[in-house]
Amino acid sequence: MIAAHLPALQVVVPLLAAPLCAILRQGTIAWLIALVANWCAFVISIALVLQVRELGIISYELGGWAPPIGIEYRVDLVNAFVLMVVSGVGAVIIPYARKSIESEIPRAQRGWFYTMYLLCLTGLLGVTITGDAFNIFVFLEISSLSSYVMIAMGRDRRALTASYRYLIMGTIGATFIVIGIGLLWAMTGTLNLNDLADRVPAIEEARPVLAALAFLTVGISLKLALFPLHLWLPNAYAYAPSAASAFLAGTATKVAIYLFFRFFFTVFGGEGFFDSTPLPEIIMVLSIVAMFAPGVVAIFQSNIKRLFAYSSVAQIGFITLGISLASEPGLTGALVHIANHAIMKAGLFMLIGCIVFRLGSMRLEDMAGIGRTMPFTMAGIVVLGLGLLGAPATAGFISKWYLAEAALLQGLWWLVGLILLGSVVSMIYVGRVVEIAYFREPSEKVAGLKEAPLSMLIPGWVLVIATIYFGLDTTWTVGIAQDAAASLLSALY
């Protein structure tokens, strides 16, 4: 019986756990509730992937009302893949979060942090699984508002201004998305994504529909931090609590990229429509700039979390490059990099959080020589850094391979060169971190540090091992991503 209700339970389990955390506000109990809810959500997402593999697209009617009048949750391979990534990243972060939150957030607010975390998870899972356009906006705002609160709970007072700036830009983005959805609804009369996919191709050339596409693109770009709309991201990830940085870095932007997939290739997925608009060229140009400019800025950062936040913007450029190529290897590369980047960035921010936990500072100069006193933490950071720049036998290599294949398929040799150059830029800032950590003399404070506690180190290393594993055995990542990309391009929804 539960198997039939899995799509609803995917969202309901964290949704019910969040007010429970708010009522029982004691820190450890709230953490336990968050742990159980997150792991249940992860198990449900794996079950959904297996179900979709077997049965095809799952449609779940909320309230018993049939679509397109009623709201439905519609799970296909793209959905299920992103659900697995989001809940998986969360499931690894929660065990890590306990010690990290205890050190960064005062006792009275810990319960509220876990409440916001669960609401953010609910929102992200809801955006991914729903098949109704306005429902996307509602869940998107649930996840955004709770992430503003999570970021504002950081220790540094700059977390407040970072959260405020994210609030302004994120709300503008979400309102643009709602304008796009409103224009589509005025033109077609339906809000159901599947129904929109049927009705939009007939009126593709109408100006309101093109305007809707433009509003949706800009709104979603604000949410996923596509250059130049990324200005909220570096400060937000740098000054948030470490567990929040890790969670948001691994999930929030990925779900917005999923929205790109859903709107470009399903709703506006008429024959050759996406290629007939100037969108692929625009996104390609912005992606190429995104691969380099934030990476170069990252090289000169003195705050290690800000460095890797700029690195996130650069990596998102790689993913949107895959989307702009709009071919099967391109979309496969983009989907695979969603999973790989989520794993690598979440792991990086977790291990950096271990350093912050022991050292108390985020400045790179203070971390000189830390490779000798915290060997496991730094080794993990090095491996994940290798993954970021796409070294073979790491997950990053697989994504770059598919992106290069897509570029070659369209005869764009110069693009392959640019992808390799982007990896060189990553090598420079990762190399800078490695040099400071290993090749300098440790200060007195660093020399007296112990290794990070196991409860924080093990989740980070789980993701390090996952990076290497998914670089060698790709059945779960590429296997699903390829079929998902094929279904997207054939407009199967």
């Binding site: 306005f134 906006f137 509602v138 705002e141 508002l145 503003y148 609160v149 504002a152 007072r157 700059r158 407040l160 201004t161 959260s163 405020y164 609030l167 302004i168 709300t171 503008i172 979400a174 309102t175 709602v178 304008i179 409103g182 224009l183 005025a186």
Partner: protein, 118 residues
């Protein structure tokens, strides 16, 4: 002139939309930015609700005497959007209060100066 009157609701929507966005971008005071954001969101409510009213349509309550109803769905959707807007503005104002207590100012330029020192 008749085209303006015929599409008056859309003209007002666009005017509020652009005005709200301009206020967010042009002003450095944090509360003024939030006011601009609120005006921007209000324009979206107009964009949804005004096409929902059908000229000659009655209130959307089923009755045998009437055949033409105004669309009730935009009202429900915009109610949700209004609640989201209220929560966003409340959160924004709470952040402004905390920033004022922490920094002593809520002007963007002064904040940038204060932050670059730390």
């Amino acid at each position: 002139m008749s085209t303006i009157l015929a599409d008056l609701n859309y003209w007002v929507t666009v005017f509020l939309l652009v005005g709200g966005l301009y206020i967010v971008v042009a002003h450095g005071n944090m509360i003024k930015k939030l006011v601009g954001l609120s005006i921007f969101q209000t324009s979206v409510y107009l964009l949804f609700i005004s096409p929902g009213k059908i000229l000659g349509g009655t209130a959307p309550i089923l009755d045998d005497k009437y055949t033409l109803y105004s669309n009730p769905l935009p009202h429900v959707l915009i109610l949700t959007a209004i609640v989201v807007g209220v929560a966003t503005i409340a959160l924004g104002l709470a952040l402004v209060v905390r920033i004022h207590e922490s920094y002593g100012t809520i002007e963007d330029d002064d904040l940038t100066d204060l932050e670059s020192d730390t």
